[in-house]
């Protein structure tokens, strides 16, 4: 599922980590401490088993797997908010433009 999204939405490549982090903070995702310094982990709400839903981002823009993790994050947000993948990308971008 994610690789297909990756190829269908090349504009995800334009996103910067700081922009996604800002979007999550604006939307009340809580940053939590994680022992792996290469990951930023955010929590909000719970899944159907009552476990916290977590979004995982790389802690640096130059990691090789940044695109994969950002795509997974946007995909998860689009499912949670019942909007399209593109709408989440646009919302992150508009958040940047209004700052």
């Amino acid at each position: 599922m994610t690789p297909e999204v990756l190829s269908n939405y090349p504009q995800i490549q334009e996103l910067r980590l700081a922009e996604v982090v800002n979007y999550l903070q604006q939307n009340h995702w809580m940053a939590i401490d994680h022992p792996n310094p290469r990951l930023f982990v955010f929590e909000k709400g719970v899944d159907d088993r009552g476990k916290p839903i977590q979004i995982v981002l790389p802690s640096r823009d130059d990691y090789e797997d940044k695109l994969y993790l950002l795509t997974k994050a946007v995909n998860l947000l689009s499912v949670l908010q019942s909007v399209s993948f593109q709408e989440i990308v646009d919302a992150i971008n508009s958040d940047v433009n209004t700052r």
Binding site: H34, R38, L39, D65, L69, L80
Partner: protein
């Protein structure tokens, strides 16, 4: 007719697909290998919809008949380039841990897959290793010793994913 190497690769993909499926993890295999062959991804259920959670475990997949066993380890000569790629990836290049998976196949290719009415048997075993240490100056290969206890099974794969989630691996 595919080459034996391509048949071995196809079987290795089938093997990990079966393991991931049984473990309840999603499997993404990359069409193009830019350092990793694919990822195992955790799936959560939210209001009856399934979606990948944030956590992922990447892997580099090898299939070979050129391996040996001693009493405690499987011994394999990994290409030096792949070895160094995995060391660099762990030390500086990536956020997600990446393991090496080796499908150790029997020497006789006619024994690789047994199809019977009651079962489908893929002979050989997958072992996993999370390489660490210094870069190798070898040009051809680096001999690695993987503990025989590190078999890739649905249960061990879930434990590896838990290592990623808890941050035990970084």
């Amino acid at each position: 007719m595919l080459t034996d190497q391509h048949i071995a690769e196809a079987l290795s993909r089938a093997y990990i697909r079966a393991i991931a499926g049984r473990a309840g993890l999603n499997l993404a295999i990359r069409e193009y290998d830019y350092g990793v062959d694919g990822s195992f991804d955790e799936v959560i259920v939210r209001q009856n919809r399934r979606v990948e959670s944030g956590f992922s475990l990447s892997f580099q997949l090898k299939a070979s008949t050129q391996w040996k066993l001693d009493s405690t380890h499987v011994i394999y000569d990994l290409e030096a380039k792949t070895y160094n790629d995995l060391i660099l990836r762990r030390s500086i290049r990536a956020a997600i841990p990446c393991i090496l998976i080796l499908l150790a196949l029997p020497p006789d290719s006619t024994q690789w897959l047994i199809c019977e009415e009651s079962e489908l048997r893929l002979k050989g075993t997958c072992y996993w290793e999370y390489l660490s240490g210094n870069l190798s100056g070898n040009r051809q290969s680096v001999r690695i010793y993987i503990p025989r206890t590190q078999r890739l099974t649905p249960e061990s794969l879930l434990t590896l994913m838990e290592n990623v989630k808890t941050g035990e691996w970084s």
